[in-house]
Symmetry: C2
Subunit: 434 residues, 2 copies
């Protein structure tokens, strides 16, 4: 399958932050084959005119729990502990494969319609999620957050459920769809697991060349209790002792990380996944993003689960990342529009070890078109400013993932949204919430 | 003209925070005539089925500068002073009536499409803006921010341009369209004007029964310099000495207001207009909203001008108001969904002296429908949670202002958007920016 985009205005997200104008972008198979001012030779299976639209790389949403889409707004208006123990955990106990599949499809539909082409998802029953991702067409780094909390004496890799989950997901799904699925190792968090699992997971990741996905220092309580347990060592520091960061790794939240943590993260190449909506909504705090960036940490963006956002529109997170730190630091330049765009694209690609996030020949053809004829994008003095501060997910009029148009002008090409909504309503919601 | 809404699910925004279900809402002329469970007697000119939708009062956007829509994203990436002096002020010098009209129509279109039915706008050439508002169909409190900065000796109400603007706007437009337009008195801010104007404007407002619209303590610099000039008195306090708050009044921003200020505001009935996006984006800071609310100050919401947001989607401001203070205070209950909804509706109505913001018989028929079939609003465990945290402006599928449907399913009934965009492109943008 080949595609030629004509009359292209595009933010290439290259080092020079180039905006291509009156240009062409060609796609061959799953990759971009040409980007430039001249119409490339040859015939194309389809041609897409981009007049009035702006192209950018599809978003990389680096921290999600897709099936939690079904908990959108559930238990709102309660404090964190009641919300988890009285609402979220009891519902989560009732999942089966069929309901997870429906929930994942619904979540993927919302992401696709708002311009996401690649995610890092951590949850349970992830084989089922992998199947839905493959069918939907985007790319995903998938993991089951390990929660073994026992002693070394009790730990047995052969009987530990977390190890079994890790092995099963890796063996069945790693690199499925020519790398559409990448399986990551994962520890849910320092506060929900213990050292034997950390060591095993670090070893497993190294042995199989996998990345690592961990919740880190999301709340002050988590951060301080870790230090109390481990002679003043933070989650980043204690996990570092077990080799958890000796591979490509993403640390979600990092709200309470310290300069010492950032030094470890910079040295080991651990990316911070900033989830500004979730951190504000749950009352977790404001992550020190400008300082982390200056310290050399790669910062990317995530929405977190729909249960704590309650949306997956990464445009909103990109905008919030671009303004929140300005307000808190009283510095209108604390995070620039360009930096926010990088967090949502190239930095995310780097965090997940993906050849995406930038529009250049040889990269994966993950591309979105945004309708700049919409009133909220009129006028346009600067495409980047409008994309960061004025656009929202519903301005996305095309989503191409891995070279295939999966969404166009409100229509899903790989999902039957009406069928998904019926399955959610008739099967999944009654199962979980009744 | 009469309208009957059937199969209504509606957030009434009454004291009991009632959600009407399987109900009816009837409209006669500009007002709501019935709200309840039974189909009202009689024939109606039109019937609107609300199945799959949720009704709420139209948004009240209490601090806007509508023509600044043309500066969307203009001069982004510069510090505040360069942005104002090198970009905004030079462009503003070039306005004429024709370009203001086009800019206002574009701004109104964006607001209408995202559910706003009433605004408080402060800018220049406001007679032209009034004409556009009347035609567009929403309600507006309009004012010209006074900026006289001279001494009492030099001040003459007969020759002062600010006094002339005030009188002209009042005499031509106050209560136009049966109260669709309300003219407010206005002082741009303490830092951009001086005592003779404060006294004159306070007297004029009292004499004519007008409200008052002022920028207050937006930045630390403004707040501290005021105290230095006036023996420690804050903007709220020094303006209080001149009687500026002796009428219904709105104070935009209030980022650095103090408990002493809140006592004055509570006593005088001054509303705080919270503009969270603008305050973050410009690096102004975070207004102490939970404390102000607890102190008895009426808090409503504004988007501020598109130049410092850069959108007028009040759903986004409502969500940010509901989460920002949670994050800053590390308290997930600092502002609840209900409080954010009240800020965007009833509190705004109170701030502007409008009989809107609530769905009950006798109130102005300012009503919006939100499409709850959209993927980002599926599933729905709680309508209020979804409206605050999951909805955005493009989920609005109908806007009724003053009893008239002015927007439905993407179509504007009172504005020709293509013509407006052409006028902006061909006339207004070249005039201001070339």
């Amino acid at each position: 399958m080949t595609t030629l985009f004509t009359n292209v205005t595009a933010l290439l997200m290259d080092e020079a932050f180039t905006t291509l104008r009156y240009g062409y972008v060609a796609v061959d198979g799953t990759n971009i084959s040409y980007v430039g001012p001249n119409r490339p030779q040859g015939d194309f299976d389809q041609t897409i005119d981009c007049t009035g639209k702006v192209m950018m790389p599809g978003f990389v949403n680096c921290h999600t729990h897709v099936p939690m889409t079904l908990m959108r707004g559930y238990g709102g208006g309660h404090d964190l502990q009641s919300w988890l123990s009285d609402f979220i955990f009891p519902a989560e106990d009732k999942w089966d494969d069929r309901s997870i599949a429906a929930a994942a499809q619904l979540g993927l539909a919302e992401m696709i319609a708002s311009g996401v082409t690649c995610i890092a998802d951590m949850y349970m029953r992830m084989g089922v999620v992998a199947r839905q991702v493959l069918d939907a067409g985007i790319s995903a780094n998938l993991s089951v957050g390990g929660v073994y909390f026992g002693s070394l004496a009790d730990f047995s890799p052969d009987s530990c459920e977390d190890c079994a989950n890790m092995r099963a997901l890796y063996e069945q799904w790693h690199m499925a769809g020519d790398g559409q699925i990448i399986v990551d190792a994962s520890i849910h968090g320092e506060y929900t697991s213990s050292a034997p699992l950390w060591q095993w997971m670090a070893d497993y990741a190294l042995e199989h060349g996998l990345g690592m996905h961990v919740h880190v220092s999301e709340t002050m309580k988590e951060h301080e209790e870790c230090k109390a347990r481990h002679n003043g060592l933070t989650p980043i520091q204690i996990l570092n002792r077990y080799g958890v960061w000796d591979t490509r790794a993403i640390a979600a939240h990092c709200v309470y990380t310290t300069p010492e943590d950032w030094a470890v993260m910079g040295q080991k190449g651990v990316s911070c996944i900033h989830n500004p909506y979730s951190n504000l909504k749950l009352g977790s705090g404001v992550a020190p993003i400008p300082a982390m960036s200056k310290a050399g940490v790669n910062v990317a963006l995530g929405t977190d689960g729909v249960s704590s956002h309650n949306s997956v529109d990464l445009f909103a997170d990109m905008k919030l990342a671009a303004i929140l730190h300005n307000g808190v630091a009283r510095d209108p330049m604390a995070v620039t529009a360009r930096q926010a765009l990088e967090m949502a694209t190239v930095n995310g690609a780097k965090a997940l070890g993906r050849n995406t996030g930038r529009i250049e020949a040889g990269r994966t053809a993950d591309l979105i078109l945004v309708d700049f004829d919409a009133p909220n994008l009129t006028p346009c003095h600067d495409e980047a400013e409008n994309l960061v501060f004025s656009a929202h997910g519903s301005n996305v009029c095309m989503n191409m993932a891995r070279g295939k148009v999966i969404y166009q002008n409100g229509e899903f090409k790989t999902l039957d949204l009406d069928r998904v909504k019926a399955e959610v309503k008739q099967y999944a919601l009654p199962l979980l919430f009744k």
